[in-house]
């Protein structure tokens, strides 16, 4: 039996390198022996990505991508399609979960310097994934064609309209009409179900290939490649299977318990996952009282709103400057590997300034997120402006403080 199996595998391997690639990327791939809680999020991201793809395909079977039919088809899915509500709630809760996991995954990267040489590309592909996920979520939120779908999309599309000179024409081109309409809806549908997911799959593959080329990191920032046994296996490493696989399974189980508790008992997430005005069909002539983004965009939306001033001298309106700073808040993440000049990777061995910087950055991000879901007033705008400053400062000043601060000695072994 075994023999036959082997000869089949060797027949196959000569034509298609299955075993070689399985061993390289899964079974024998060496991973650090000791990692912590923060290192599970990558695996969970892969899981949630699959959940989104599968539930998305099923939703697509019943959804109508026209101005006249979209809203009704979502109600149809919720009421008449067997388990349609489950597909939809898994998909909408999945979107929130995706961002939640993504933010923790990235925070791990910042804490432990996982972006440092030679993992710059792993980080860079990750940042593109963040960007694509944000686009994907935005496009998907328009599809149910509710009031919030319509008016939130209007706010974002009018940002393109605020770009000097080309703005208004660009906005019409993206919309395919002079107002946000059915033409916009059907192209957003194509982007949401085909274009962006395909790009994301490609980037996840690049992300993992790049990681496996340079080897996974650990919270200590110890280079495990330095000490190897006679077979070339790192002394502080263990093969992916069974060590990593069996430790990931319980985590995936716990994740699903939490995930389905939300799907079954709080799918609207108190109005933060699915917003109230979106249970009303889009109306061109009636803006909702208060346009708020879903929680996962709230920090960035806050930054956008915090910019209440322009640069009149250069003909830059406050709206356009807001757009620039908002774009910069995401763009700056891409260059973090080149901002960090520290000799050590992990926050555990970095100096005081890095620690203060990280706390300020995280606190600002969370505060901005809170403010983004609330209506504006003067005090909130002021706090958002201060937080925007403390979101950027730790990153902008990083090249200086990481170079000069005193760091601790990193141990040789894990």
């Amino acid at each position: 039996m075994n023999k036959q199996n082997n000869s089949f595998m060797s027949w196959l391997d000569k034509r298609f390198p299955v075993t070689e690639n399985l061993e390289r990327h899964l079974t024998k791939h060496p991973v650090p022996k000791k990692v912590n809680f923060f290192y599970i999020f990558g695996a969970l991201l892969m899981v949630i990505f699959m959940v989104q793809v599968i539930t998305g395909i099923w939703l697509m079977m019943f959804y109508t991508n026209t101005e006249e039919g979209a809203f009704a088809s979502v109600e149809y899915i919720m009421r008449d399609v067997e388990y349609g509500w489950l597909m939809r709630y898994m998909h909408s809760t999945g979107a929130s979960a995706f961002f939640f996991l993504m933010y923790f995954h990235m925070f791990r990267g910042l804490l432990y310097g996982s972006y440092q040489k030679p993992k710059e590309l792993v980080w860079l592909f990750g940042c593109f994934l963040l960007f694509l996920l944000m686009a994907e979520g935005f496009l998907g939120y328009v599809l149910p064609w509710g009031q919030m779908s319509y008016w939130a999309a209007n706010v974002i599309l009018s940002l393109f309209g605020a770009i000097p000179v080309i703005g208004p024409d660009l906005q019409v081109w993206i919309q395919g009409d002079y107002v946000l309409s059915g033409a916009t809806l059907s192209r957003f549908f194509a982007l949401h179900v085909v274009v962006v997911p395909l790009l994301m799959i490609a980037l996840v593959v690049f992300h993992i290939f790049a990681l496996h080329e340079v080897g996974a990191g650990n919270p200590e920032g110890v280079d495990i490649e330095k000490h190897r046994d006679e077979k070339g296996m790192p002394l502080d490493g263990a093969p992916f299977h069974p060590y990593k696989t069996f430790s990931a399974l319980p985590a995936i189980g716990i994740f699903f318990v939490i995930f389905f508790s939300i799907v079954f008992f709080a799918p609207e997430g108190g109005g933060y996952f699915l917003e109230k005005p979106n249970f009303e069909e889009a109306n061109f002539l009636k803006t909702p009282e208060h346009i708020a983004p879903v929680w996962y965009y709230a920090p960035f939306y806050s930054i956008l709103r915090a910019i209440t001033f322009g640069i009149p001298l250069l003909g830059i309106t406050s709206k356009f400057l807001g757009f620039i700073i908002f774009a910069a808040s995401i763009a700056i993440l891409f260059v973090v590997p080149w901002l960090d000049r520290s000799k050590v990777q992990s926050i555990r061995y970095k100096g005081m300034y890095s620690k203060i910087g990280m706390i300020l950055f995280a606190a600002s991000f969370i505060t901005l997120g809170y403010l983004g879901t609330k209506p504006v007033n003067e005090l909130r705008t002021l706090i958002a402006q201060i937080c925007t400053l403390f979101y950027f400062l730790p990153l902008i000043l990083m090249p200086i403080y990481t170079k000069y601060e005193k760091t601790l000695e990193v141990p040789e072994r894990l």
């Binding site: 019409v172 081109w173 993206i174 395919g176 009409d177 002079y178 107002v179 309409s181 033409a183 192209r187 061109f284 002539l285 009636k286 803006t287 909702p288 009282e289």
Partner: protein
């Protein structure tokens, strides 16, 4: 096999195939990107609309639809033209540079009928008489949703929820013919 590789020929081939390839890609991009422009149908719906002003009496207003937005056209009375400058102190932005009627014509006003607060439709109240919302009302628009007040030229009063004046859509006059959606 022993023949020497002609590097010049190879370079020339690289460059020409690169250029031809780039031109081909750019050429094919044109139809795909153009497909995103408003279709003929959307253009027809978004096209400019014309209105003959000769039948619109002084003091009257008509509502047209342009790009799914209601457009208000007001024929101002002589007393309205006299009264408008008196309100300069009561409005947030007198918009003097736009002229008294805020349009390209000294007796008509053209506005988007969408409240700049939360997009309700403001109501036309041209009467000069005390109103529940203003004892010294000189005519204008009142938004029933949250009580924003605008004068007959669509300028917003101070101290109401709407932040800015009613928008003036692009328009042009040609004799009695008003065109919305095109600047003359």
């Amino acid at each position: 096999m022993s023949k020497k590789i002609d590097q010049n020929r190879r370079r020339a081939l690289h460059i020409t195939s690169g250029i031809v390839g780039a031109v081909t890609v750019a050429g094919f991009a044109v139809p795909f990107l153009s497909a995103w422009n408003p279709s003929e149908k959307a253009k027809a719906l978004g096209a400019s609309v014309k209105f003959n002003l000769s039948k619109l009496e002084a003091g009257a207003m008509v509502v047209l639809e342009w790009r799914r937005t209601p457009i208000f056209i007001v024929h101002q009375t002589l007393s309205a033209i006299e009264n408008l400058p008196k309100l300069d102190a009561k409005v947030t932005n007198p918009a003097k540079e736009e002229g008294i009627t805020r349009s390209a014509n000294s007796s008509y006003t053209v506005l988007k009928g969408v409240c700049t607060h939360l997009s309700c439709a403001p109501k036309y109240h041209p009467e000069i008489e005390p109103k529940a919302w203003d004892q010294e009302w000189l005519g204008g628009f009142f938004c029933p949703c949250h009580g924003s007040k605008f004068d007959l030229a669509g300028r917003v009063y101070k101290g109401v929820p709407a932040p800015t004046n009613l928008e003036v859509p692009p328009h042009s006059f040609d004799g009695d013919m008003l065109t919305i959606g095109e600047v003359g």
